[in-house]
């Protein structure tokens, strides 16, 4: 029986990217162990390391797509019974899955750490979530650039823009008074400002994904 090739392509990407995911999860878990030691220095060091692991994973994964084009594997894949849209779907499912599963694992681990070890006030949970979603946005943006842009430069440019933006955006969000108000709270404050920031983040992700499909479906030359 002839199955859809999309599933086979997703499995292939999972096999090829396993080492990167294992390394990122390990990196993130080590960072959380450092945070769990308690005190300001381990918190700052571990926190930065934790977000670096998320960023690294989000920025490295889309380079699989760029490399497939650069190393001329794309004609091989497109010789299989798939359309350009099916290729796009397979890439989005595989890379989103590859990112989201370890991302969620790390996020849940961080949540458990905050809850159980009380290394930081619970009021930090909303802000941590907001911060952790930004590498997710960066990942989606770089993935979109890798798929839609046909040159390596687009992926690199998206990478540079994201890498240089995180700290500014985190700083700007932390300066929103009603978001910052919850930092020292003994429980998470899910006020309207936090909810709005989260809605903006998820809206951005959905918009980037929709635009990716829109541009891919309009392409007339796929190789």
């Amino acid at each position: 029986m002839r199955d859809s090739v999309v599933g086979h392509l997703i499995l292939k990407d999972w096999r090829l990217n396993r080492p990167l995911i294992v390394l990122s999860v390990l990196g993130g878990l080590i960072a959380l162990v450092i945070v769990s030691w308690g005190g300001q220095t381990p918190f700052v060091l571990g926190g930065v390391w934790f977000f670096m692991a998320l960023i690294l994973m989000g920025h490295m994964l889309p380079f699989g797509i760029i490399n497939e084009r650069k190393r001329q594997n794309l004609p091989f894949l497109m010789s299989l019974p798939i359309s350009s849209i099916q290729y796009t779907i397979s890439k989005l499912i595989s890379t989103l899955g590859l990112f989201l599963i370890p991302w969620l694992m790390l996020l849940i681990s961080a949540g458990v750490l905050i809850e159980v070890r009380h290394v930081i006030p619970l009021g930090w949970i909303p802000m941590s979530l907001i911060l952790a979603i930004l590498p997710f946005i960066g990942f989606v943006l770089i993935t979109a650039a890798a798929l839609v842009g046909e040159k390596e430069g687009w992926g690199v440019a998206a990478n540079v823009v994201c890498s240089s933006s995180y700290w500014f955006v985190w700083y700007a969000i932390a300066r929103i008074p009603s978001v910052a108000a919850g930092f020292n709270s003994p429980f998470p404050l899910w006020n309207s400002a936090v909810r709005n920031v989260l809605a903006c983040e998820f809206g951005t992700i959905v918009m980037i994904l929709a635009l990716t499909f829109f541009f891919q479906s309009r392409k007339k030359d796929f190789i």
Binding site: M1, R2, D3, V5, H8, K12, L16, R71, Q72, N73, P75, F76, M78, S79, L80, P81, I82, S83, Q86, K220, D221, F222, I223
Partner: protein, 299 residues
Amino acid sequence: MSEFAIELSGVEKKYKFFTLDKIDLKVPEGQIMGLIGPNGAGKSTTIRILMGLVHQDRGEVEVLGRQMPSEQVAAKWDIGFASEDMRLYDLLTIGWHMDFIRSIFPEWDDAYAQMLLKRFGLREEQKIKGLSHGQRVKMTLLLILARRPKLLVLDEPTTGLDPVARHEILRELTAAMTDEGRTVLFSSHNTQDVEQISDQITFIDRGRIIDSMDKELYLDRWRRLRLEVPLGIRLPALPGIIEVKQEGRLAVATANAFVPDLANAYENAGARIQRIENMTLEEIFVANVEHSREEEVNA
């Protein structure tokens, strides 16, 4: 279903510095069609259009009875495609690639794959990055042949190969044709390769098909006539003669529709026929391209 495995009619594709202009091409089922053209003639663009990888601006493309690009998924189950710019995954092994293709195509013939592996001198545990260019081409061919596709589309498969590897590839392609009903479209700028295995030949230049017919008919219809022309005699313009080059008393006329009457006509005009030569496919190709370009300039 149509008697043609591939049918392109009125296909156009415009780029900034190149236009594929009203391409009409028909490849009958069970035939090997050689698509010959110089670099940049439009061979790869034509092939990408018929694979659904590039969408035509105008015209109809039907492959194995499927409209392209809209039905490319259904069509590609039965097409084995290899192109010069196609690369396998460098860090993975031959065995991994075979497993990958086997998992997708239920038609995969493992015994045939193993036989090809042996014949090509390849081993499953070899990584692609350690293979030579010739071995990579053989590996790609193995992956598509073991799927037993109805149609093989090969874009410059022999480019850059040494004579031995080229011979092996061509031999396997010829052997693959023993499968009843299998069709091959094979592009190259190497006329020797095409001459060796093709039944039909199409010449393409500057985005236009300049000629397409049976190989034997080409070789039969094209001739070079070496003439001695006495002083004061003017050679007549004859239908079927596309070019006459004369230096002093010696002239060479190239015919694309040779009949013995042409030689008689020159003799009747006062010239003496020194020799009538058969032309190789390469000579026919070059003469055809030059003639077509000259016509384009004069038009």
